[in-house]
């Protein structure tokens, strides 16, 4: 019980403090971390729990971002419309991807997800009239919730924080439910799962569609936080960046995704002001994580917490 209260109170307090104290630039940056964190967390459900290595996850996130931006330009920035179109796009793209890729595994799965992702990139890059081509889409209307306009950095940050909280609860309930346990089973011993009567496809397909919905929800808000969506957001290198964020944060923990995206985007945002070679630093952090904390920063924090607890006891 105490642990549950702490789990709710700590992030809520941190979000409230940030909303009160941080300036607009930092608030937009934090919102971006949270949105990428949600997408990386949904990737964690696939990789960490299902052992399904994907290099096409940015297509779900970025595809939803395009859909939300296009819908908002057409019909206005109502939050329900924006989130709804993003979630639906993420789910549809994930379902299409699932039908094509989920009968293969390992290297083939990796390559197929990469190819599917690049097909989305091709559409985004070449369909100029709708997606703006290489220039992407700018000049989006402000988000609105009923009579309120959510255009300030603070409002967008709070919206992203709320979405992250909901996404985390949804992700956790999924992995704790029988379907989530079955997903772990398909990772650990797929043949045994088939012999127990589970359809591997049915289990993995559900996980992929859920991941699409979560990444889609995050992607939907991204253009409004970033004030722009371009083809880079669906490119396979963006998918690879998400995998790197996940490894740094910690595979299989869900909340590590947010730490990983904070570290990666922190380096990208702050170090790139000093040097063009910020990716070298990402690489260094990646290698150090893999060598010293194979289960990511999340596992390091867990070890630290247990030690402190033991010392306190």
């Amino acid at each position: 019980m105490k642990r549950n209260i702490a789990m709710v109170a700590l992030p809520a307090a941190a979000a409230a403090a940030a909303a009160l104290l941080a300036d607009d630039f930092v608030l937009r940056f934090l919102a971006e971390i949270l949105l990428f964190g949600i997408a990386v967390m949904s990737l964690d459900i696939l990789i960490g729990f299902g052992g399904l290595m994907s290099l096409g996850h940015a297509a779900l996130f970025g595809g939803a971002a395009y859909a939300a931006a296009i819908a908002a330009r057409q019909w206005g920035g109502d939050v329900a419309l924006v989130l709804g179109s993003g979630i639906a796009t993420g789910m549809v793209l994930a379902a299409l991807m699932g039908v094509v890729v989920l009968r293969s595994g390992h290297l083939f799965l990796l390559i197929l997800t990469l190819l599917m992702g690049q097909m989305v990139w091709e559409v985004a890059f070449h369909w100029r009239e709708v997606t703006g081509g290489a220039d992407g889409l700018r000049g989006l209307p402000a988000l609105s919730l009923g009579p309120w306009t959510l255009s300030t950095a603070r409002a967008l940050f709070l919206l992203a924080a709320l979405l992250a909280a909901v996404a985390f609860v949804v992700g956790r309930s999924f992995v704790a439910a029988p379907i989530g346990r079955a997903l772990v089973g398909t990772r650990e011993e797929p043949i045994r799962m088939a012999a127990l009567g589970y359809s591997l496809f049915a289990v993995r397909f559900r996980a992929l569609v859920l991941a699409g919905a979560l990444a889609g929800a995050a992607g939907a808000l991204f253009p409004f936080v970033n004030l722009y969506v371009g083809p880079q957001s669906v490119h396979w290198t963006q998918s690879a960046a998400m995998v790197i964020m996940l490894v740094i944060g910690g595979i299989g923990s869900l909340w590590g995704a947010f730490i990983g995206s904070a570290v990666y985007l922190g380096i990208q945002t702050y170090l790139s002001a000093y040097t063009d070679r910020w990716q070298l630093c990402v690489g260094l952090v990646f290698v150090l994580t893999v060598l010293l904390l194979p289960n990511g920063i999340a596992s390091g924090l867990r070890i630290l917490r247990d030690r402190l607890r033991r010392r306190g006891a």
Partner: protein, 249 residues
């Protein structure tokens, strides 16, 4: 005796090699049938064909009077056909309780549940603990499978299949690597608590097969070369030449 499993003219080739040729026999309801034969006789291939993991090139298979040809493994499980594998095929990172609960949930139709999953999960956990208790492993319920002995893993493996309440259970060398006492205990659990389940059992230990089975089917080089009660099979000249002779049986 009504047959739960009927095999007719089942054949399977791998390239030029015939792994199974014209295999035909029945397993009756609640019957325990032993399947014996030297290495390479095709016993495991036959298991894979029956359970849908391999597609036969010819022949037909009926389960409880209905054809199951062309069905995926999961569909066959849903019709009451379960199996174990030559090596204990378990989820090593999960506890004994969770291993069995995985099977219980699937059998109850809750395997893919998300909403209302907590209730389904606790009901499944309860059944899993009871099954472990029946097998004398209640104290190991919270132990991950990777920390259990080979014999215990074998028992959990069998319990997972039993949790599906199958009408027919195919056991591929369930007693391999077990002591005689462990083997007897495992087969005792199978027969004592699950008398309605028919068993098709592959084992190399002749004493186990002849001691526990109602009938024995003998295979050699992909063919059935004899079948009957343990006493009949023991006396069969061809069986003695192919298999038993070498063991002095």
């Amino acid at each position: 005796m009504t047959a739960i499993l009927e095999l007719r003219g089942v054949g399977k080739r791998f390239g030029a090699f015939s792994a199974l040729r014209d295999v035909a026999f029945d397993v009756g309801e609640r019957e325990t049938v032993g399947l014996i034969g030297p290495n390479g006789a095709g016993k495991t291939t036959l298991f894979n064909v029956i359970t849908g993991f391999l597609r036969p090139d010819e022949g037909s298979i009926r389960l409880a009077g209905q054809s199951i040809d062309g069905m995926a493994p999961a569909q066959r499980v849903a019709r009451g056909l379960a199996r174990t594998f030559q090596t204990a095929m378990v989820f090593p990172g999960l506890t004994a309780r969770e291993n069995i609960a995985m099977a219980v949930r699937q059998h109850a139709g809750d395997g893919l549940r998300w909403f209302g999953g907590a209730r389904a999960a606790s009901a499944a956990a309860e059944i899993a603990v009871r099954l472990l208790g029946d097998a004398g492993l209640a104290h190991r319920a919270e132990t991950p499978l990777r920390d259990m002995s080979h014999g215990e893993r074998r028992i959990v493996d069998a319990l997972m299949s039993l949790a599906l309440s199958p009408r027919l259970l195919l056991l591929d060398e369930p007693t391999a690597g077990l002591t005689r006492a462990e083997s007897d205990r495992l087969l005792g659990i199978l027969r004592r608590n699950h008398a309605d389940t028919a068993l098709l059992l592959v084992a190399h230990d002749i004493d186990i097969v002849f001691g526990h089975c109602d009938r024995v089917v003998v295979m050699e080089l992909g063919r059935v070369i004899g079948s009957g009660t343990p006493a009949e099979v023991r006396e069969d000249a061809e069986v003695r030449r192919a298999y038993l002779g070498s063991t002095g049986g």
